[in-house]
């Protein structure tokens, strides 16, 4: 498009090696990323462009009595100031599942940082200063911040008059969704228990903290539409929410994925998309919006904080008798993905264990806290933290090795889940625990050198707080289960367009999908699949956009499975057409064209016995073959609203961790020495990327364990730490060695037998670290993150 610089480009990758699936091929976007040329959404530039800025509420809950924009509009360099009254159509809300989120506040704000007004100006600082001149008269309202205040008799309703599809079955209008899972009879089964342990756990609110801030460029088009370049996880989901608010048909909102600087769930919901388009359409000029880090903390939903109550029983030989649990997730002011998070938390509340008698309930609240939604692990993370703490507690009560207790109750292929669904693919839970336990331990007193203590290897680091005095080692284990793909009956399909043609005498494949590459390496894998299926070396990956069918979300560990499956499926269709051309052209020369199983390999048509029948170049000649097909995995079902029964999930992913920590027990400082992981990945399509995902996911779990939490003031519901100065994520000094053991047990239902892998390591990492700190200190530690004062009691 004319005038725009740094638009996303084709990624063309040749290869001298086979480089099909199973090879650790390198990223096709790697060179662009190391030279600074890769076009991230915040790098977009257009001549004559304006800068957009969002004015956000400074209070968590208030009625807006008035908004005065006159001074802002009068400022030189300002082109537009928009409020709720300027929205162009009757559609003024958006949302992933429930359209409860105002594009701009309509007379009321429900959380700190809610968008109230937009400014477009010729310089970002001009826009910020103009926004500061907008006068808003807030009349503050009492805040709802937890279950008690949300369900109190006189509780203010976050969304009075709800008409969404969950409104009819929830016990209170400030509860977004409730999902019980009832199977067997937990009360009866409890009578068989020799030991019962209970626990109450608190999981802190986590931020995705992707490094690339929310950003994009909206360019008004001559046809009255708009071209939007943006970083997102799902272009078509965005489009479905954007177009009605703008009053445009979807084909006039042309979206292109710009470079995405990480996502982790935080880009499932809209951020600047509608705002940028509104300003561009109003001013007739291109508008760029880039959040700074402060705004980013308000610009996306977070991982739900949660309170979890658990009761486990076991016989004295360590067999689980029953589970009762209640999980309360704080959804914040708007629904976002809360209903699906509830579905995951409840259906996976039991963990990777066999328990026949369960009584489970999960709910998500509407409160005035920051909205929460998707983040890597999606409801399964909070549950895993609690059930793994319980397993340790139970092992202690039984005087049993905690790994052995887990192995005795580990689910396996054929196990019936509490939802009544059969696990019909490998579930090597006991084996993963065995493997992670078998890894060699880091040496004791690993800080000791010939020249004395290396303080960098000790808790406190260069602060030089100890040379080993008061330092105690602890070791902890955890294992988890995560579902792969969208569950509960969602039509979770993807689309791939694949073309094959001859360019410069070489057969070349082009793959076009709308898959959001957010760093996970989907573009690498698509090229590998095309090579494997089509026997080509050179593959071009076209930029993701809305000119091709939906790929679904880069979420739920699903893209290699689902869009990978779609690319494979479309490649197979292309291959069949190529072979058909070959049969027509050359079929009379060799009987194998009619009788043998034919493949495309090394640029040739070959029989399954390896005999070469023709060059692909000769088969295709000047012609090209192109198909665009949708592809679906096995369908799932909704969970019954009363009993939670139903075949709700597609596939499962399992990981186990062993954490080794050293704790300065006097100062309450923790150093994680090693965080080993064993994970079943079904089939590693790209082993290098698989290990990278496992290490990255593990580190996000580490962050929750010892440092990460969005702190919300319980009195005002305001966020206290919206910066990287106050919200800490692990640095390279905080992150230990992460040895990884990859197991590949094929799932026969999935393409190539693969398993979605991105999320599972984020689950068990946190409880393993907590377990290790408990082992070192003897403390109960029921809250994330563990802070020094929790260890010293000060």
């Amino acid at each position: 498009m004319a005038g725009v610089t740094r638009t996303p480009t084709n990624l063309t990758q040749g290869s001298k090696t086979p480089a099909g699936i199973g090879a650790s091929t390198l990223r096709p976007d790697g060179t662009l990323k190391v030279t600074g040329e890769f076009a991230y959404s915040s790098d977009m530039w257009h001549e004559d462009m304006l800068w957009g800025f969002t004015l956000r509420s400074t209070v968590a809950h208030a009625e807006i009595r008035s908004i005065d924009t006159s001074e802002a509009l009068a400022q030189a360099g300002v082109y537009a100031v928009l409020t709720y009254d300027d929205l162009p159509t009757a559609v003024k809300n958006y949302g992933l599942e429930i359209q409860d989120t105002p594009v701009l506040a309509n007379g009321r704000v429900r959380h700190h940082g809610e968008p109230v007004a937009l400014v477009a100006a010729d310089h970002p600082e001009t826009a910020r200063r103009a926004a500061a001149k907008i006068k808003i008269d807030y009349a503050e309202l009492p805040v709802v911040t937890d279950e008690a205040s949300a369900t109190a008799e006189d509780a203010p309703l976050l969304h009075p008059g709800r008409k969404d599809h969950h409104a009819g079955h929830v016990p209170h209008p400030n509860i977004v969704h409730r999902q019980p899972i009832i199977r067997g009879n937990a009360d009866e089964a409890a009578k068989r228990a020799d030991v019962i342990v209970t626990g109450e756990y608190d999981f802190g609110m986590q931020d995705q903290a992707f490094l690339g801030p929310e950003s994009g460029l909206a360019v008004p088009a001559e046809d009255g539409g708009v071209d939007l370049y943006v970083a997102t996880q799902w272009l078509h989901s965005d489009l479905r929410q954007i177009a009605p608010v703008l009053g445009l048909p979807p084909e006039k909102v042309r979206m292109t994925l710009s470079g995405v600087g990480g996502a982790f769930g935080g880009r499932e919901d809209l951020s600047m998309q509608i705002h940028g388009c509104l300003l561009a359409l109003r001013t007739g000029k291109p508008v760029k919006i880039v959040y700074n880090r402060f705004e980013s903390f308000f610009g996306h939903v977070h991982r739900h904080s949660a309170k979890l109550w658990y009761e486990h029983g076991a016989t004295k030989d360590g067999k689980l008798t029953h589970l009762k649990c209640r999980i309360v997730l704080d959804g914040g002011a708007y629904a976002s993905a809360s209903p699906a998070v509830v579905g995951n938390a409840s259906s996976l509340a039991v963990g990777p264990y066999v328990v026949d008698d369960v009584d489970i309930e999960a709910i998500a609240l509407y409160t005035n806290n920051p909205p929460c939604g998707a983040m890597r692990g999606f409801g399964a993370v909070q549950a895993c933290f609690a059930y793994e703490a319980q397993m340790d507690k139970l092992a202690k009560a039984l005087d049993m090795d905690p790994v052995e207790l887990r192995q005795r109750n580990a689910m396996e292929q054929g196990t019936l889940l509490p939802t009544g669904q059969v696990v019909d693919s490998p579930a090597p839970v006991a084996e993963l625990l065995r493997r992670v336990k078998a890894m060699p331990l880091p040496p004791e007193n690993q800080w000791e050198t010939t020249e004395g203590a290396d303080v960098r290897a000790l808790p406190g680091g260069l602060s030089n707080t100890t040379h080993g005095e008061g330092v105690v080692r602890g070791i902890g284990y955890a294992v988890g289960i995560k579902n792969v793909g969208f569950s509960e009956g969602f039509d979770d399909y993807s689309t791939a367009r694949v073309r094959m043609e001859v360019i410069n005498g070489e057969p070349v494949a082009t793959v076009h999908t709308a898959m959001a590459e957010v760093g996970q390496g989907g573009v690498t894998v698509h090229a590998q699949i095309a090579r494997t299926e089509l026997g080509v070396q050179q593959v071009t990956i076209q930029p993701a956009d809305t000119q091709v069918g939906s790929a679904g979300s880069t979420s739920a560990s699903r893209q290699t499975y689902v869009t990978g499956g779609a690319v494979k499926n479309s490649c197979e269709a292309v291959r069949e057409q190529v072979l058909q051309k070959g049969r027509l052209k050359f079929g009379t020369y060799h009987p194998a064209w009619a009788t043998a199983e034919l493949l495309l390999e090394g640029g040739k048509v070959v029989t399954d016995g390896g005999e070469v029948l023709a060059d692909i170049v000769d088969v295709l000649g000047e012609e090209s073959v192109e198909v665009e097909l949708e592809w679906r995995h096995r369908p799932t079902e909704a969970f019954d609203l009363e009993t939670g029964q139903g075949n709700g999930h597609v596939q499962y992913s399992f990981a186990a961790h062993r954490a080794v920590v050293e704790v300065d027990t006097e100062l309450g400082l923790v150093k994680v020495i090693e965080l080993a992981c064993a994970q079943d990945v079904g089939k590693a399509l790209n082993p290098l990327s698989v290990v990278g995902q496992i290490q990255g996911g593990t580190t996000q779990g580490l962050g929750v364990a010892v440092m990460e939490e969005i702190v919300v003031d319980p009195k005002t519901a305001k966020v206290r730490n919206p910066s990287f100065t106050d919200y800490l994520i692990p640095t390279i000094l905080d992150t230990p060695t992460i040895p990884v053991d990859v197991l590949e047990l094929a799932d026969e239902h999935a393409p190539y037998g693969l398993r979605g892998i991105g999320e599972a390591p984020t689950l068990s990492s946190t409880p393993a670290v907590l377990s290790a700190i408990r082992a070192a200190t003897g403390l109960a530690l029921t809250k994330t993150p563990v802070r020094p004062e929790h260890l010293t009691g000060t």
Partner: protein, 210 residues
């Protein structure tokens, strides 16, 4: 105000710079060099790391006016900077305080666009981008790049580490890169990349008998 300084060996001038603008903003929005990244704009994440007269700095914390008359190297110029250093010894472009190339010599080079925008990184060991610096190639080869947003800052910081310490221990690497946040990789493959670049540098040195 007008600000004039040398970026990647080429003199650059920016007009109408507001006094509050950072070096990062001027590089990204006025000079067409968005390789330096804007992940936090408060000096915590290191994604905007550049060399300022040889010293690694967070360009978001440097006021543009402070850079008047000085020399900046960004990720876009890293490959040429490393090549200059390899050819002339010591620091490239004379930015480490007197040693190495003179300013006049340095003016002859600048970051060059790669043309088509297509990438060929998958050619293991045979990348046509021979212009990449050793640390850039090592980041690709080791799988240290996922979303890539932290990568430019890490490359500048890691290159500076290897310049002063060509055989860093793991503790040295962790110390040198502790100001650079990465949210994707868990840092393991970033450590691998620095180790790889150091080992390759070592084997080259050994091979030439230098």
């Amino acid at each position: 105000m007008r600000v004039k300084f040398t970026v990647n060996g080429r003199e650059q001038t920016a007009d109408d710079v507001w006094e509050g603008e950072s070096l990062l903003y001027v590089l990204r929005e006025r000079m067409g060099l968005p390789g330096s990244k804007n992940a936090c704009e408060q000096g915590e994440c290191g994604s905007c790391t550049v060399r300022l007269d040889g010293v690694p700095v967070c360009s978001c914390l440097v006021a543009a006016g402070q850079v008047e008359g000085r020399e900046v190297v960004t990720v876009e110029g890293l490959a040429d900077f490393a090549r200059q250093r390899a050819e002339h010894g010591g620091c490239g472009a004379g930015v480490c305080g007197g040693k190495g190339t003179t300013l006049d010599e340095a003016k002859g080079w600048a970051a060059k666009p790669t043309g088509t925008g297509d990438s060929q990184a998958g050619e293991q060991g045979t990348s046509p981008h021979t212009a990449l610096s050793p640390i850039q190639q090592a980041f690709i080869d080791a799988g240290a790049v996922q979303c890539g947003f932290c990568t430019p800052g890490l490359l500048v910081a890691a290159d500076e580490l290897l310049e002063r310490n060509n055989q860093p221990s793991d503790a040295d690497i962790r110390e040198a890169l502790s100001g650079n946040l990465c949210r994707c990789t868990g840092y393991e493959k970033i450590l691998d990349a620095v180790r790889l670049a150091a080992a390759r540098g070592e084997s080259e040195t050994a091979g030439t008998g230098a």
